[in-house]
């Protein structure tokens, strides 16, 4: 069975759920699935399907890079860390100095999405810098 066949139900579900720019490529035995999901729920659903096909994602034959589209009109994001404060750094990277902190649950301003991983934000106290996007949830 090819990796394309193995993950067919996942790629079919991605197409059905309205994932845009969907690309499915097989290279050296690894399947690369790229695209942009309309929302976080679709992304989570795809990862659930991945887990059901390959429990704990341990086969190493799929790279699932489905981004979540963030509307350009979004200007406020909520800090969704587990419970701790979120570091705001001078540049995009954990090697960069910390210039501020945002509390868990705090709603801060999104200035720009510098990369998929690091977003430029500003707190109400005026602290401005880069925060790890995984811990930021766009406010509707």
């Amino acid at each position: 069975m090819t990796v394309q066949e193995k993950y067919r139900s996942l790629t079919d579900a991605a197409a059905a759920a309205g994932v845009t720019n969907l690309q499915v490529r097989d290279q050296d035995g690894v399947l690369y699935v790229d695209g942009t999901a309309p929302n976080g729920a679709v992304k989570d659903q795809l990862w659930k399907i991945y887990d059901s096909i390959d429990p704990n994602y341990l086969s190493g034959d799929l790279v699932l890079d489905v981004k979540v589209s963030v509307d350009a009109s979004v200007t406020k994001v909520k800090v969704t860390t587990e419970k701790s404060n979120l570091n705001i750094r001078k540049g995009p990277g954990t090697d960069q100095p910390i210039v501020g902190k945002a509390a868990h649950g705090e709603i801060i301003t999104l200035i720009s999405q510098a990369s998929e991983q690091w977003w430029l934000v500003r707190t109400d106290d005026g602290e401005e810098g880069y925060a790890y996007a995984q811990y930021l949830t766009p406010e509707a």
Partner: protein
């Protein structure tokens, strides 16, 4: 009576001569098929002729071949018109771009920073993750690593609680 017989014979003769002047569809088809076999680029193309109209179908490698086939077929005697239904396959997808080890290492470092008990190494685009992790955190970490465009992720060194 005699005259009508002569006339009738004349009509038959004329019809036969007209018909024989016009190449038969099957002959045109054979001529086109011969032309198609002569060029290996046309190997997958097939032809059907009806009332002098030649319809070419099948796959050709590119647009230039598609035009070339048209020129070749139009030159054949008896082809009144031509329908080019040949198709050109879509270009192959662009190869997957794998992030270079340096930015990938930094990205992985950022991703595992808040997960104690986890180590990760990067070599030739392959991210190897080891340690003990909860299922939820591993799912979160995999999402983060896959977004960095690695070649592959090897989590076989993990203990998932």
């Amino acid at each position: 009576m005699k005259l009508s017989k002569v006339l009738f014979a004349l009509v038959i003769a004329t019809t036969v001569s007209f018909v024989s002047c016009k190449p038969k569809d099957s002959d045109i088809q054979a001529a086109i098929e011969k032309a198609l076999t002569a060029n290996p680029d046309f190997a997958k193309a097939t032809v059907a002729v009806a009332d002098g109209v030649a319809t070419i179908s099948g796959e050709v490698k590119d647009d230039a071949t598609k035009t070339a086939i048209e020129t070749a077929v139009k030159a054949i005697k008896g082809v009144k018109s031509f329908v080019n239904n040949t198709t050109v396959p879509p270009p192959p997808p662009a190869p997957v771009v794998i992030t270079q080890d340096d930015p990938l290492t930094q990205g992985v470092k950022d991703a595992i920073k808040d997960i104690p008990g986890i180590t990760a190494t990067v070599e030739d685009g392959v991210v190897k993750v080891a340690g003990t992790i909860s299922k939820d955190k591993w799912t979160m970490l995999r999402k983060a690593i896959d977004a960095l465009s690695p070649k592959k992720v090897d989590g076989t060194g993990l203990t998932i609680k």
